[in-house]
Amino acid sequence: MSDALCDLSGAELSAKLATGETSASDVLASSRARIDAVEDRVGAFLTRTDQLASERAEELDAYLSSGAPQSPVAGIPIALKDVLTTNGVRTTCGSKILETYVPPYDATAWARLAGAGAVLVGKTNCDEFAMGSSNENSAYAPVHNPWDLDRVPGGSSGGSAAAVAAGEAVWALGTDTGGSVRQPASLCGVVGLKPTYGRISRYGLIAFASSLDTVGTFTRTVRDAASMLQVLAGHDPRDATSLDVPVAVYTEGLGRGVRGLRVGVVTEAFGEGVEPGVAASVRAAIDRLAALGAEVGKVDLPHAAYALSAYYLIAPSECSSNLARYDGVRYGYRAPGEHADSIAMMFATRGQGFGPEVKRRIMLGTYALSAGYYEAYYGQAQKVRTLVIRDYEAAFERFDVLVSPTSPTTAFRIGEKADDPMAMYLNDIFTIPANLAGVPAISVPCGLDDGGLPVGIQLTTPALDEATLFRAAHALEADLALDLRPPLLEKAG
């Protein structure tokens, strides 16, 4: 099955669609055949949209045959993390509380892709309300890593990462609040982009932590990430935090290489808790960047050590408020039976509808925002956030790109950290600072560890400089020329 259309990159598919060598319906059929072949083992999807996808592909084929101009997105099978709203298609956030929720509108990110001709194949599994790093917090089922079905795909956008790794979708959207795109991309051996906060509209991204939530992309190549961002980026009048600044042409400078680019290696990159296999791959990748002409130096982010703590106050605080709306009054799950009054109904609904991790974070956040504790917790965390932002500003005076591992470990076994929230939280130690600072970052595969599991390297650039991010990531990707095919696909072959 090495020739399957669904294993090609978006750019390759787009070229074939342009010449008429293949059709959107053929591409969809390939993706669907893959889903049928592996989905029972991977479990990437919560909802499949077969009927909609077929209709969409047929429409597109009629459109493409007319010789009309074609977006790089047209005809590409795309999966959406189930925290992005889709008009008329159930959107659960991986939670029981929204099991029956059918949104009456499309998320702006999805609307832009759909408008450019993307074909939605389904909504992907994730940690409940995007809270988790392993996908084990889904209220429905865990997702299995295509590289080793006993292992987690990472989280919270685990379903999207697994779907792209397994060829069930060619591209996918996820959301990244503390690393939820980059970490699963790293664990699944795909490219995961978290753009600048505000670059992609959050309208229709079901909020976990509003000041950190970012729509992100999963692709198998850096070029595809650039093409996808090109369509997604831009101001949205429905999101007051979306940036009203011009969008660069991301694919333009892709081939310019890294000669002269100043690359800063984050001091803690090879510190305690980083697996040797991860450190080795990331080191080797940095050596390649130097060999390609980048000026590599060391950079200190002195407050990054406090970023995790600050994140676990800010994110739960915002979450405690954002998730207050799930009360059984207007939509979603409502606790059955008689209730003493409306408030009792609301509380019963929430008690029954949310899973343990979500409840844990709501309680943390509620406490952190309480009168008398606000300054000590939320206020203090915001100060740390300001310091982290300054760290980046200082670092970017000396460097164009910062590098570190994306995750300190490769994919771990399902259940391995499930009972230890603190160990789980440490997964995001390298990814969280970029969310606090709002800067863009990308995870690119840079090798396999001894166990044959993918390792990702994270690149970070200043706000709105995604172009440099793509340029450096593309140079590394081209130089490493990894063949990243999960063993699952060979067996499925």
């Binding site: 009048p237 405690s320 207050a324 207007r330 925002l369």
Partner: protein, 483 residues
């Protein structure tokens, strides 16, 4: 008889629904009285993934209010989330403002009934969103034993301005004067319908007592649910009496929120300080800081209309109205418009003001609107009376017709036969006849009993079937009697 004399300390928190075309954070229409849940969208229903985008016009209006109250327009202000659970609040938090409101400080100059001026400080004016409305049903119809609740989200997300006064008022009358002045000011700014009965202007009061002459404030009680200026006065009067009795009896005042029951004429405890919510305020991450462009604020400042206070002064100083009449005209936007219009049409201000505040006011109050009445009607009434073409009573009758149909006053006078005869020729003949018929009365007049002329005028009016101008009639009779 209480041993100590107490002074009341009163502050008001007023909520004003802005009459913008659309809601605060979405594009839904902002209208009152539509069928339930017809003015809603995913944003104001708090659907997952939706985001609030501030309404620029609403921000312009609160800036206008702030400028009218001489507040500082903050160069940097923030929306905050006020978190609490209630079924009529779609997100279970209200987007409001906390420690960085848009308008800071300021004052409102009011005038007490006896004409004494007083300045009431404004603490802050901030922007927030309204909630939906719940209606409880079943059981007795009261909340505590209701068996179901219905929800209407049409009001959810309507722009709401909260205006907090300093505790500067010392009596229910002062509080009422403040609220009247605030209402008139908001009305003149054209930012809100300010209808207390529809809830577009709502008012909560904080009241405490302290011994006369004391500096420190006593324990305050918040009163809610006053639906008119009159009920504010009644509630405060009741509450001051209740607190006085408690203090006289040696009881401590409990810091609490009390509910005003209009029918019972009393307040009852809703919740104590210990039961107060912890709203867990934090900055709204979905909305960037508000940093209004100073030139925009200047534009708004320049566009401010004449405010009631300045208008009142002008009416007294340049139009010669009595202060108490000026106050009544200015307190009501409709009255102001009719008065200004009539004066612009050269009506004599004093009598235009009298008509507007008396007979016209009675008609408008009874109808609840301006009917078909225009300033032209008022000006015509004033002019026709001055010309002697109609009596006061006749003018009033014609005005009623004009109010109902818009018919010009003069046409109404003619149609209803209200025109007075001031023609000295026609009336002179009648006067001759009256004098001829009443020689003994004429004699009495000539003997010095001039008061009897009233009788003769009456006779003449009778002959003229009421359509004589009494002033002209008297003059004609007097000429003849003295001649």
């Amino acid at each position: 008889m209480s041993a100590t004399t107490y002074e009341a300390v009163i502050g008001l928190e007023c909520h004003v629904e802005l009459s913008t075309e659309t809601k605060m954070f979405c594009a839904c229409a902002n209208v009152f009285g539509a069928p339930p849940n017809t003015q809603t969208c995913p944003v104001c229903l708090g659907h997952p993934g939706t985001l609030p985008v501030p309404n620029r016009e609403a921000i312009a209006r609160i800036i206008k209010i702030g400028l009218a109250l001489d507040a500082e327009i903050a160069p940097h202000s923030l929306f905050h989330r006020k978190n609490y659970f209630y079924p009529d609040m779609p997100k279970n938090y209200q987007i409001s403002q906390y420690d960085l409101p848009i308008c800071v400080g300021g004052h409102l100059d009011i005038e007490l009934a006896d004409g004494t001026p007083k300045r009431v400080g404004i603490t802050r004016v901030h922007m927030e969103e309204d909630t939906g409305k719940s209606t409880h049903g079943g059981g007795s119809g009261r909340i505590h034993d209701a068996t179901y609740a219905t929800l209407d989200f049409n009001r959810a997300g309507v722009p709401l301005v909260e205006c907090v006064s300093e505790p500067d008022m010392r009596s229910p009358e002062e509080a009422a004067a403040y609220l009247r002045e605030l209402r008139a000011t908001l009305e003149s700014l054209d930012v809100s319908d300010v209808k207390m009965e529809e809830g577009s202007l709502r008012c909560d009061a904080n009241v405490s007592l302290r011994p006369e002459g004391a500096e420190a404030f006593g324990t305050k009680v918040e009163i809610k649910n006053m639906n008119s200026i009159r009920s504010l006065e009644r509630a405060l009067t009741f509450e001051i009496e209740r607190q006085t009795k408690a203090l006289d009896a040696g009881d401590a005042i409990v810091q609490e929120t009390r509910h005003w029951d209009e029918d019972a004429g009393s307040t009852t405890s809703m919740r104590s300080k210990e039961e107060a919510f912890d709203y867990r305020y934090f900055p709204e991450p979905d909305i960037p800081a508000l940093e209004p462009d100073p030139s925009w604020v200047d534009d708004i400042r320049v566009s401010l209309p004449e405010l009631p206070r300045a208008r009142r002064d002008r009416y007294v100083e340049t139009l010669g109205l009595k202060p108490e009449v000026a106050r009544v005209v200015v307190a009501d936007r409709g009255a102001t418009a009719l008065f200004e219009g009539a004066v612009a049409l050269d009506a004599e201000p004093g009598s235009a003001a009298n008509w507007v505040t008396q007979d016209v006011a009675a008609l408008r109050n009874a109808a609840g609107d301006d009917g078909a009445l225009t300033a032209q009607h008022v000006a015509d009434v004033v002019r026709l009376i001055a010309d002697g073409a109609v009596s006061n009573a006749g003018a009033k009758q014609a005005l009623e017709a004009s109010f109902a149909s818009g018919e010009p006053v003069e046409a109404a006078i003619d149609r209803l036969g209200l025109r007075q005869v001031s023609d000295t020729g026609a009336l002179g003949a009648l006067a001759d006849a009256v004098l001829a018929e009443n020689p003994d009365v004429v004699q009495k007049f000539r003997d010095g009993k001039e008061g009897v002329i009233g009788f003769l005028v009456g006779q003449l009016m009778q002959k003229a079937a009421g359509a004589a101008n009494p002033k002209v009639a008297q003059e004609l009779l007097r000429e003849r009697l003295q001649g």
